[in-house]
Amino acid sequence: SQTIHQWPATLVQPVGSPLSLECTVEGTSNPNLYWYRQAAGRGLQLLFYSVGIGQISSEVPQNLSASRPQDRQFILSSKKLLLSDSGFYLCAWSKERGIGGYTFGSGTRLTVV
């Protein structure tokens, strides 16, 4: 069965520090991968998506970047965090082709102080 792992669950980081959030998927090949951010009490904002290794599309210009070094690994990074980067970060995957629902990870609560 397919599973998605996302870590850490919570993170408190000072302003100006770097960030690395990791997401891995098991039990499937060539997934589409997504990073979303959810502000408190709000909907989800798509940050990045990837249809293959090294293929990253950015939806919102910002202080973050994403990489996909392996087929089932998706990393969200920042060189210098801003206060506005605080939020709930969610990784998700969907099947390579066709119409389908997403499977989400359990999320990372990031607080920048």
């Binding site: 249809v51 099947k95 997403y102 990870g105 359990s106 609560r109």
Partner: protein, 112 residues
């Protein structure tokens, strides 16, 4: 900007009652999906309805889609306290691949 807007923003009902949530969107879609999120957790996919479908059922869930009005509704019948969560609609727009745009969500509280 948000493609989908849910209505109401919050809903409180008694156990056993039905809960209805509505979603409106702006552009042509391939499909519309509903997700559930328990507080502080990831989202769970509930149901998907394609643009050429008008109604779909899954257990106690019933989803309708009206593409002429660009709207959808999610009905949860015989609600339970365990249904307490936030519910989001998400749309896959025409020509957008499988990228989903999420609405702002409805917070449902089911009281005993």
């Amino acid at each position: 900007s948000q493609q989908g807007e849910e209505d109401p923003q919050a809903l409180s009902i008694q156990e056993g009652e039905n809960a209805t949530m509505n979603c409106s969107y702006k552009t042509s879609i391939n499909n519309l999906q509903w997700y559930r999120q328990n507080s502080g957790r990831g989202l769970v996919h509930l149901i998907l309805i394609r643009s050429n479908e008008r109604e779909k059922h899954s257990g106690r869930l019933r989803v309708t889609l009206d593409t002429s009005k660009k709207s959808s509704s999610l009905l949860i019948t015989a609600s339970r306290a365990a249904d307490t969560a936030s519910y989001f609609c998400a749309t896959s727009i025409t020509g957008g691949g499988n990228k989903l745009t999420f609405g702002t969500g409805t917070q449902l509280k089911v009281e005993l």
